[in-house]
C-alpha cells in the first residue's frame, strides 16, 4: 500500500459505529446491486465483469460506483453509518479489521454447496488477510507483490550487470553506488518512506517483524527489524546512493524513475501497467526479484470483495462476490492487465499482456511472500509509523530514537485497540 492509498486506507471508520449486522428482509436474487470501487484504471475491467454477471442473471442490474481514492474511505464510513453503503465493495488489508470488527461485513461461506469462495483457490496469505476471529469476510480479488524495477539504459551506461535472483543486499548497495552519477544528477536507487514497497519487505528479509502474531505488540524493538530499516537509511546517508527524503518529497520516486533520475526503485506489481503505457519507458525498464537479505522475502497484499452487512439482497450479493472472485471474472481482470487476479491459474493473461517485462517475477514472489501486517485499527499506527520513520529517513533523528518512539506509540495504540475490542 502506497502512502496515497494508505492515507485513504487510513480513513478508518469511527462512523461505522451503529451499523447493525442484521441482514435485509427481502432476499431476492433479482434486482439492482451496487459495487463500490476506487481505482479509475480498473473501471473498465470491473464494468466488463459486471456485464458478464448480468448476462448470466436475467433481471439483475449491477451499478459500478467509482469513488476516487481520496474520498473512498470517508464516504464509505458515512455511508455505513447511514446504511447506504454499496452492496458489494472493495476492501483492503489496513481497513479490513475495523470494518469486520464493527460488524459491517457479511460472513462468506468457505465450504459446502453455498460456498462463496474456496480457500484452496487463492494464495493462503490473501485468504487469511480477510479472516477475522476465524470467520471469512472477504474473497480475494487480486494481489500485488514487489519487484526491483531497473532502468536498463542507466545500467548499460554504468556497465553494471542487470539485477537477477542472485542479488544480495550487498549487491544492491554496491551497484547502487556504482550507478550513482552525481554529475548527471542520477542516483542508484530511490527509497521513499513506503511501507509495502520498501521497509516491510526489508524487515522481513532481515528476519524482523512489524506486529506480533496476536496483534498485541510492536516489532519495532527487535534488532532484526531495525536491521531491515537501516538498509534504507544507510542507502541515503552512509552510501549516498539514494536521493534525500527532501528530494523525493519534491519529486515522487515513481516520477524520478520514469525520467531516468534513479536507476532502481522497488515497486509493486500494480504499477507495471503504468510503466508499460509509456512506450519510451516500456523499452527502457524491466523488473527483477528483490535482493536477498538474511532470507528472500516480499510482502503480499491484495484487495478483497466484501458484502455490506446491511445489504437488502445478501444472497444476490454473495452470488456476485462468488462470480467476481471466481475463475471467469479473474480471467477478465488479467486480460485488462490492471491487476494480478488472485485466483490460481488465471494470472497468465496478465504476464503475457506485457511481454517486454519479466512479470513472472511477481508470480514467483508468492512462494516466498509474507503477509501484510494489519490489526483491528491498522490506520492508527501505520500513520505514526510513517511519520516517525520519516524522521529517521531525513536524518533529523537517529534510527534508534525514531523506532523507540514508534514502538512505544504503537504498543499504546494496540493496547487501546485491545480494550476497545473486548
Amino acid at each position: 500500500m502506497r502512502r496515497r492509498s494508505l492515507l485513504t486506507a487510513a480513513a478508518a471508520s469511527a462512523f461505522a459505529a451503529g451499523c447493525s449486522s442484521s441482514p435485509g428482509s427481502s432476499d431476492s436474487r433479482h434486482g439492482r446491486l451496487t459495487y463500490g470501487i476506487w481505482d479509475v484504471a480498473q473501471l473498465p475491467a470491473m464494468r466488463r465483469a459486471a456485464r458478464e454477471f448480468e448476462r448470466t442473471r436475467p433481471g439483475v442490474r449491477v451499478d459500478v460506483q467509482l469513488t476516487p481514492n481520496g474520498t473512498y474511505w470517508t464516504k464509505l464510513r458515512t455511508a455505513c453509518t447511514s446504511g447506504t453503503a454499496p452492496d458489494v465493495f472493495w476492501m483492503n488489508g489496513p481497513n479490513f479489521g475495523l470494518y469486520a470488527d464493527a460488524g459491517q461485513l457479511l460472513p462468506l461461506e468457505t465450504e459446502g454447496g453455498e460456498a462463496v469462495l474456496r480457500p484452496a483457490d487463492y494464495p493462503a496469505d490473501l485468504v487469511s488477510l480477510y479472516r477475522w476471529n476465524g470467520v471469512q469476510y472477504g474473497a480475494p480479488k487480486d494481489f500485488d507483490t514487489v519487484g526491483l524495477w531497473f532502468n536498463k539504459e542507466l545500467f548499460d551506461r554504468a556497465k553494471v550487470d542487470y539485477p537477477d535472483a542472485g542479488w544480495t543486499w550487498q549487491d544492491l548497495i554496491t551497484n547502487a553506488q556504482r550507478l550513482t552519477d552525481r554529475r548527471r544528477g542520477v542516483h542508484g536507487i530511490g527509497v521513499p518512506v513506503w511501507a509495502q514497497e520498501n521497509y516491510y519487505d526489508s524487515i522481513a528479509q532481515a528476519g524482523g517483524w512489524v506486529i506480533s502474531e496476536d496483534r498485541k505488540r510492536s516489532g519495532y524493538r527487535d534488532p532484526r527489524t531495525l536491521e531491515g530499516l537501516r538498509l534504507w537509511v544507510d542507502m541515503i546517508h552512509r552510501y549516498r546512493a539514494a536521493p534525500t527524503l527532501q528530494q523525493i518529497t519534491d519529486t515522487d520516486a515513481t516520477q524520478l524513475f520514469q525520467s531516468g533520475r534513479i536507476a532502481m526503485v522497488q515497486d509493486a506489481s500494480y504499477n507495471a501497467a503504468t510503466y508499460y503505457a509509456d512506450p519510451e519507458l516500456r523499452a527502457k525498464v524491466d523488473v527483477a526479484p528483490l535482493a536477498r537479505g538474511r532470507r528472500r522475502a516480499t510482502v503480499i497484499h491484495g484487495l478483497g470483495n466484501v458484502v455490506y452487512a446491511r445489504t437488502p439482497r445478501p444472497a444476490l450479493a454473495r452470488d456476485f462476490v462468488r462470480f467476481l472472485s471466481g475463475r471467469r471474472a479473474s480471467q477478465i481482470q488479467g486480460k485488462y492487465g490492471t491487476a494480478i487476479p488472485a485466483f490460481h491459474g488465471t494470472q497468465r493473461a496478465w504476464v503475457e499482456g506485457m511481454p517486454e517485462f519479466d512479470l513472472q517475477v511477481f508470480l514467483d514472489a508468492v512462494d516466498y511472500a509474507v503477509p501484510y501486517p494489519t490489526s483491528g485499527n491498522t490506520a492508527a499506527w501505520a500513520h505514526k509509523e510513517q511519520q516517525l520513520l520519516a524522521r529517521a529517513w531525513s536524518g533529523d533523528e537517529s534510527l534508534d530514537g525514531a523506532t523507540t518512539a514508534l514502538a512505544k506509540a504503537m504498543d499504546q495504540l494496540l493496547d487501546q485497540e485491545g480494550r476497545a475490542g473486548s
Binding site: R3, R4, A14, A17, L245, Q246, T249, D250, D396
Partner: protein, 328 residues
C-alpha cells in the same frame, strides 16, 4: 457610506416637521415596530431555519462531541474535559496553531499589496483595467487540485523553475515545500497569490466609492498626492479595508485544502514530507484526527478551539475598528 453617483438619490419626501408632530410620528413608528415584529421573523425564517438545520446544529453537535470519546465501534462516551486536557499538552496541536497564525499574518501582508494594485488601477486615465482585473482575479477561480500540482512543480528543489530563476541570479535555492525552514513562507506566498485578486477587487470597489470632489477639495487646500492618499483615501477606504481584513483573517485561519495539496499529503508522499509538521494547519489536524485517525471527539475539540479563537479575533477587530475605521 459614500454613494455612487450613478444611482439616483431618492428625493427627500419628508418635509421638516414641528416637534409635536414629530412625537406623533415616533409613536406611529413604534406602532409599526410592534406589527413589524412578525414580519421580521417571517423574513428571516427561511434563511434562519436553513442555517440552523444545516449549519448551526452541526456546530452545537460538534461542541458536544468535543466532550466525548468515540469508541472505535460504539456510540459516544462523555469524558468531560479530557480531550481539552490532552490538547493542552499536544505539541502537534500547538505547532499547528502556530503555523496557522503565522500563515494568517503572512497572508495579511497581501492586503497592502492588493491596496497598491487597486490604487494603481484606479489612477486617472488608466487603460486596460479590465484586462488587469481579470488577470489578477484568475487565481481566485481556478481549481485548487490542479493549481497545487503546478505550485509543487514550481517549488521543486532540484528542478523547479523558481530555483532555476534564482540560480540565474546567483542565489542558492532550497527545497521550498519540504524544508521545515521555508515551508510556511512558501505556502503563504501561494495563499497571497490566491487571495490578492479578490482583495484587490474589494479595495478597488472601495476606492471607486470615494467621491472625486473630496480629492478636489484637498487639492485646493494644497495637499499633494501623498497627503491626499493619507488624508482622503485612507480614512474613506478604512471601512473596506476593515471588511477585507476581517474576511481574510477568518478565511486564513480556516485554511486547509491548498496547504494539504501543496505538501503532497494527497500523494504517495503523505505525512512523510519532512516539513509536514511545520506546514500542518489546525484544520488539517482536525481533518486528520476526525477522518483518518478515528478520533472524532478529539477532532471536535480541536475545531472547537479554532472556532472560539476565530470568534475572539473577530470580536477584537470589531472593538479595535473604532480606533481607525471612519464611517462617512
Amino acid at each position: 457610506m459614500s454613494l455612487d453617483t450613478e444611482v439616483p438619490a431618492p428625493p427627500p419626501v419628508r418635509a421638516p416637521v414641528p416637534e409635536a408632530e414629530d412625537r406623533e410620528l415616533r409613536k406611529r413608528e413604534r406602532a409599526f415596530a410592534h406589527r413589524d415584529k412578525w414580519w421580521g421573523y417571517a423574513f428571516i425564517a427561511p434563511a434562519g431555519l436553513g442555517l440552523a438545520v444545516f449549519y448551526l446544529w452541526p456546530v452545537v453537535q460538534t461542541l458536544y462531541y468535543s466532550f466525548t470519546e468515540w469508541g472505535a465501534f460504539g456510540g459516544t462516551t462523555w469524558i468531560g474535559t479530557a480531550n481539552y486536557d490532552t490538547l493542552l499538552h499536544d505539541a502537534e496541536f500547538w505547532q499547528a496553531l502556530g503555523n496557522t497564525l503565522l500563515y494568517t499574518g503572512l497572508v495579511l501582508l497581501g492586503i497592502p499589496l492588493a491596496m497598491v494594485l487597486a490604487v494603481l488601477l484606479n489612477l486617472k486615465g488608466m487603460r486596460g483595467t479590465g484586462v488587469y482585473r481579470t488577470l489578477y482575479f484568475l487565481p481566485v477561480v481556478t481549481m485548487p487540485a490542479a493549481v497545487a500540482v503546478v505550485w509543487r512543480w514550481l517549488y521543486s528543489g532540484d528542478v523547479g523553475i523558481l530555483n532555476q530563476a534564482l540560480d540565474a541570479v546567483g542565489i542558492d535555492g532550497t527545497y521550498w515545500v519540504s524544508d521545515p525552514d521555508t515551508v510556511r513562507f512558501a505556502v503563504a506566498a501561494v495563499g497571497v497569490w490566491m487571495t490578492v485578486g479578490y482583495n484587490m477587487i474589494l479595495l478597488l470597489a472601495g476606492l471607486q466609492g470615494i467621491p472625486q470632489d473630496y480629492y478636489e477639495a484637498a487639492a485646493l487646500d494644497g495637499a499633494g498626492r501623498v497627503r491626499q492618499f493619507f488624508s482622503v483615501t485612507m480614512p474613506l477606504l478604512s471601512p473596506t479595508l476593515f471588511f477585507t481584513t476581517v474576511l481574510s483573517v477568518i478565511q486564513s485561519l480556516q485554511v486547509f485544502d491548498l496547504i494539504y495539496l501543496i505538501l503532497g499529503a494527497n500523494t504517495s508522499v503523505g505525512v512523510t514530507n519532512p516539513a509536514y509538521g511545520e506546514g500542518q494547519t489546525v484544520v488539517m489536524l482536525f481533518f486528520q484526527k476526525s477522518f483518518f485517525d478515528n478520533q472524532r471527539g478529539y477532532g471536535a475539540a480541536i475545531v472547537s478551539v479554532l472556532f472560539v479563537l476565530i470568534m475572539a479575533l473577530t470580536a477584537l477587530q470589531f472593538r479595535l475598528q473604532k480606533k481607525w475605521v471612519h464611517y462617512a
